[in-house]
């Protein structure tokens, strides 16, 4: 199902999105009267590119900053620093990290988001039509009749048939899988260039999950949409993404071709993450995972490898030197580790 998605990738040499040194620091304690000097480094200097039609998986444990990164790309979170150059080949390349006002509102037609929770991502008091048509309504696209037609089309496209039967129902009358299809329709109705999908299938049942995954892949291939696919599940990333980036405590520690990373993970964290995924085969016994569980938040982190405290390979060099830079290891694999 992702072959088509892969085929359309890397057609254009210029990436759709170039993320450079993206930061987000949250104040660790809020007080209006005192200057805050303690910051949680949620996202700390992230670099990557997203090609047109490509889907990049952003993988990591909860609290690693993957959702914050995704939300910065659609400007639901304002970056503390860094650049996100958006270049769809039509308009001028723009840095969306600093957009505001009218240009930001216009940019929102190019970037949409699908949320994790199919139950809370829709206003329970609005009909499916209102929900899907919302981007058109606020962007003042088309007349009411056009919108009804567009929404009907989208409903058919995401496999909710007959579409007329869904138009004026309420979210609570739909199942989780159906709601997530509605969420996808809402994101795609403005024909965006890229969509940030934040664990869109993690709350769905297995028997409907693949249907939604397949739909997303097919739509991306058909409409030439790029995804930043955020997930904690490497197995899902394998099926949805041609490349994956592994995040740990606000940093990307490894990025590269999906199959290559799954076959030979270089960073000790990626290895641990991969070996912790349970295998649906009772005859297979996995080797034990080498590292301790649990990610803490980082308040003003020391100048050393972020993974130092949990790393089985760490030595004094890792302790006394700054966080390692991302370096090529293998064909397209880029790793941030002194020991890999």
């Amino acid at each position: 199902m992702t072959e088509a998605a892969q085929a359309t990738s890397s057609v254009d040499s210029r990436p759709l999105l170039s993320v450079e040194g993206l930061h987000k620091y949250f104040p660790a304690a809020t007080s209006r009267f005192r200057r805050n000097e303690r910051f949680i480094h949620a996202v700390d200097g992230v670099n990557f590119t997203l090609a047109k039609g490509e889907s990049l998986g952003l993988v990591g444990e909860s609290g690693c900053g993957k959702t914050t990164t995704g939300k910065m790309l659609v400007r639901l979170v304002d970056p503390t620093g860094g650049h996100v150059i958006f270049d769809d080949g039509v308009g001028e390349p723009t840095d969306i990290a600093t957009l505001h006002g009218k240009p930001l509102k216009e940019f929102r037609r190019h970037a949409q988001m699908v949320f994790q929770d199919p139950y809370d991502s829709m206003n329970p008091r609005r009909t499916i039509f209102d929900t899907i048509a919302e981007p058109l309504q606020v962007q003042q696209v088309g007349s009411l009749v056009d919108r009804i037609d567009r929404v009907t089309e989208m409903l058919a496209l995401v496999g909710l048939t007959p579409p007329r039967a869904f138009l004026f129902r309420f979210p609570h009358e739909l199942s989780g899988g159906q709601r997530q299809r509605v969420a996808i329709a809402r994101a795609l109705i403005v024909e965006p260039s890229f969509v940030v999908a934040d664990e869109p299938t993690s709350m769905l049942d297995v028997s409907v999950r693949t249907g939604v995954m397949r739909l997303m892949a097919d739509l991306a291939a058909g409409l030439g949409i790029s995804y930043l696919y955020i997930t904690h599940d490497l197995a899902v990333a394998r099926y949805m993404c041609s490349r994956i980036a592994v995040m740990y405590l606000g940093k990307i520690v490894e990025i590269g071709d999906t199959e290559e990373i799954l076959r030979s993970p270089q960073h000790p964290y990626t290895r641990a993450l991969l070996s912790a995924v349970p295998v649906p085969d009772p005859t297979v016994k996995r080797p034990p995972v080498m590292i301790e569980g649990g990610v803490s938040t980082v308040v003003n982190p020391p100048a050393q490898c972020r993974f130092y405290a949990r790393c089985p390979l760490a030595d004094d060099y890792c302790k006394t030197n700054d966080h390692p830079p991302l370096e090529h290891k293998g064909q397209e694999q880029i790793v941030a580790c002194y020991k890999a």
Binding site: R32, K71, V74, L76, K105, R108, R109, A111, Q112, M113, F115, Q116, D117, D120, S121, M122, N123, P124, R125, R126, T127, E134, P135, V138, Q139, Q140, V141, G142, S143, L144, V145, I148, F168, F170, A183, R186, V190
Partner: protein, 316 residues
């Protein structure tokens, strides 16, 4: 704005669909409401007083002689002593000034309704808007609005009303506005803001922002409609509060009103009958019972609505 140049066919049909949906949810909630015993009792009491209030002008124009039965300036010429006990012509007797108590009771019911509902609407309109705005913007806006709300809550309402009635003369309309503004900017906005906070963090608010929706769109399309159930509930409790305040103030003789339940008790007290309840019960009971009943009926309806809105309280 690219105006919706919808042909006649689509727009009205959309409106019809929305109307049908609204009616359906109303029907569902109504049947739930009927399932709560307290709600039905409360509604029955409210309807009883509504009938009293509405039938007063009819009676005045048909069977009741204006000179005898006018609630303010009438005089029971047919009685020899005032206050007269209940009789065939005066079912609840007359007051120390010779006015028919039933007529006073019915006349006042209308102003109590208007007062209560106006105060409630003002309260909830202000409270919902302020609460939604404070929750959405947060930060400085939130701080200012909430400190202002604290100030309103701390205001000694009765004392302010005393001063105001001395200065400008407070009637039912002014009283409703004052109560509405005080509790709207005060308790109501604090309560509704805390509810709005739980709405603001929902992903559909983020989805609306990602769609390009501005503050007005998010506040009035997404936040306020989700506050309405609680607003409506708060409205019911405000009615109770307003009627009760009115009763206290007019009992103290601080209101510039011509007739009300509180004033009826005040008249009794001024004429020195207040402590002879046993002998002159018809002077006290009809008015005080009405205050109690109407106040509690709105409260009961509010409680029943709470059960309808809040599925966790619902009996399965």
């Amino acid at each position: 704005m690219a105006v919706e140049v919808a042909p006649q066919s689509a727009a009205p049909s959309l409106r019809r669909v929305r109307f049908a949906l609204a009616m359906r949810s109303l029907r569902e909630n109504w049947s739930l409401f009927l399932g709560t015993r307290i709600g039905v009792i409360g509604l029955a009491i409210i309807l009883f007083y509504l009938v009293l209030a509405l039938s007063h002008p009819i009676l005045m124009n048909t069977v009741w002689d204006e000179r005898i039965y006018d609630p303010v300036v009438g005089y029971a010429f047919d009685e020899t002593r005032q206050p007269a006990p209940p009789s065939r012509s005066h079912l609840l007797g007359t007051d120390p000034l010779g006015r028919d108590i039933l007529s006073q009771l019915m006349h006042s019911a209308r102003s109590e309704f208007l007062l209560g509902l106006l105060a409630a609407v003002v309260t909830v309109t202000i409270g919902t808007t302020v609460g939604a705005i404070a929750a959405y913007y947060g930060g400085v806006v939130d701080t200012i609005l909430m400190r202002f709300a604290d100030l309103m809550v701390m205001m000694p309402g009765i004392s302010i009303l005393i001063v105001l009635s001395a200065l400008i003369g407070v009637e039912h309309f002014e009283l409703a506005l004052i109560i509405g503004i005080l509790s709207g900017f005060g308790g109501a906005s604090i309560l509704l803001k805390s509810q709005a906070l739980s709405v603001v963090v929902k992903p559909y608010i983020e989805a609306a922002r990602a769609a390009g929706g501005g503050p007005a769109h998010i506040i009035f399309i997404h936040i306020v409609p989700n506050l309405l159930p609680l607003s409506f509930l708060y409205m019911m409790f405000t009615v109770t509060g307003a009627i009760f305040s009115e009763a206290i103030l007019s009992f103290l003789g601080l209101l510039d009103v011509r007739m009300s339940w509180g004033l009826m008790i005040h008249t009794t007290e001024a004429a020195g009958y207040l402590l002879q309840v046993g002998k002159y019960w018809w002077l006290i009971f009809p008015a005080s019972l009405s205050i109690t009943l109407l106040c509690s009926s709105f409260y009961l309806v509010g409680r029943a609505m709470d059960e309808v809105i809040n599925p966790r309280l619902r009996r399965l």
